[in-house]
Amino acid sequence: METINKRKNLNSACALAVLFLVVILMDQLIRPTDSMAMLLTVIRKGSIYALVAVSMNLLNGFTGLFSLGQAGFMLLGAYTYAIFTIPLDERVFVYKYYDYLISVSFPEVLGNLLGGFGLLLGVILALILAGLVAAGVAFLIGLPVLRLKSDYLAIATLGFAEIIRAIFIWGKLGPLTNGSNPLKSYVRLNAFQLHIGDTTINFSTLVPLAFAAFCIWIIVLLVNSSYGRAFKAIREDEIAAEAMGINLYKHKQLSFVISSFFAGVGGAMLAMFASTVQANNFKSTMTYEILLIVILGGIGSISGSCIGSFLFIAASEWWLRGLDSGTFLGIDAPGVFRNGFRLVVFSLIIMSVVLFFRRGIMGDKEIPEVMARIWGRLRTRMRGRAGKGGEAADG
């Protein structure tokens, strides 16, 4: 068992390393004006959404808690990240109508100390802080809310997410959150560049992919640990889990806090991806998008959530764009159909996916299991054909 697991780990590490190299290469070769530039956007946004979807899956898929607070925790993460990474000189221009309260920027402080590496360290520090703020708020919300079940929990968490959004645009908190005005000028993805002489190496796509991959790896470890088993036991049968000595409330709270931590980190990364942070971007629609990804990918499947998010982002941002502007499959779509036709096609695709894959693309399986099954089926078919071929030759 041990050696098989080691080999599996080695294989996935190699695959990931190759993927990272390809992404670094693409980052250098594809210019922003190329038609393939959208691919980079899809990888960036897709990996961020993958992280958030996996964090939601931890709660909804593995622990069986139907929570709809994801956007709220992402908002907390995004704001925390932005507030702690805006350079001090820029703060006056960002907080036009308020006296800014916090005057520390992690990447700036560490960047002055350690150079380029300090910038990265500062960003990581801000990301962790973003997660911690989201997790802390989740802990407080969880105290009353986690005593509820199913639909009621969903309503309560949705409500809290909206309350968080309302609080953040409250004028009295302006010195901290800039009220209803956007936060900008913080460290974005385009900051991750390495200058060696005249050449510039761009890491803007690798950074979100690598961060997301690292966080998802931690969640995978958690799900496969004894805590993960306890979460699944709670999902399957609360009473039996309780009778086995699993403290329901403690484990639900743990799952909720960890899920929110990674939602916060994901929100912060979404801020890095976008150019501004504004509370009104984190509406419940965002939670529904993520829920959609989780369901399309398969509830209880981490690889499903990842695949789902890349497909979702690719379809909504890239493949179907032609329906609203330009051409789609050679047809002058915007001329023929009304504007917004993209969303109709998109809904049709989602409906057919749900019809044909009732439990999502991956069900509750992970990639290695599915690959092994396909490989096994192929092998038996090949063997069958070889057997038949042998008989024919004999005859």
Binding site: A233, D237, A240, M244, G245, N247
Partner: protein, 231 residues
């Protein structure tokens, strides 16, 4: 080992258990029999901590445990095999067994071997999801899962529920075997015949009150018990 005194439990506005006292001596099999709604399950659920008692005391090895949370009670060495088996259907047999050992700090490999020895069928199916097992196999899994916590006292809520007579016999053989290996057992049964043959002490429960107490074999010959429960 387990002493219950004057236990009262309210359940949804009615008093389901009305001040009962009973004792489970170490190393024995004790059974509670009674009709539906007599309060048998409620007693077990209260001992396991799933329901809070309204009054009375529950002492386990001299220590008061009434009102403790279920995880505290499990870690003191009491496990409940819940009614209707309640295995985790989408988890594998192995995962189910590992959850049984959740509160233990040490690695449970030895007990896994022990459980597989008692139930070789579970070893064969360790990678199957529990939902695909037959009823009898699920009951074996529920028993094995409870044993994984290394209980001193194992409480079973109707282990024969919905199983064919031949399987029921097998389950009771295993219950006796588990008892022989040093686990004290408190058993609830509708199948009074089987339970009275197995148990050293038996209590008859009627609408929240204990009415008869005696050795299992004696109750088999008791006229009132025969009329009411053995037919």
């Amino acid at each position: 080992m387990l002493q219950i005194e004057g236990l009262r439990v309210n359940y949804g506005g009615i008093e389901a258990v009305k001040g009962i006292s009973l004792e489970v001596p170490e190393g024995e099999i004790v059974t509670l029999i009674g009709a539906n709604g007599a309060g048998k399950s409620t007693i077990l659920r209260t001992v396991a901590g799933l329901v809070k008692p309204a009054g009375g005391s529950i002492r386990f090895q001299g220590e008061e445990i009434a009102g403790l949370t279920p995880d505290r009670i499990v870690s003191r060495g009491i496990t409940l095999v819940p009614e209707g088996r309640r295995v985790f259907p989408d988890l594998t047999v192995l995962e189910n067994l590992k959850i049984g050992a959740y509160l233990r700090k040490d690695k449970p490999y030895k007990d896994l071997e022990w459980v597989y020895e008692l139930f070789p069928r579970l070893d064969e199916r360790s990678w199957q999801t529990a939902g695909t097992l037959s009823g009898g196999e699920q009951q074996m899994l529920a028993l094995g899962r409870a044993l994984m916590s290394r209980p001193k006292l194992m409480m079973m809520d109707e282990p024969s529920l919905g199983l064919a007579p031949i399987i029921v016999k097998g389950i009771f053989d295993i219950i006796r075997e588990i008892n022989r290996q040093g686990v004290t057992i408190l058993l609830i049964e509708q199948n009074a015949n089987m339970a009275l043959h197995t148990a050293s002490t038996a209590y008859v429960l009627e609408t929240g009150r204990l009415t008869i107490k005696g050795a299992g074999k004696d109750l088999l010959n008791d006229e009132a018990v025969r009329k009411a429960y053995l037919g």
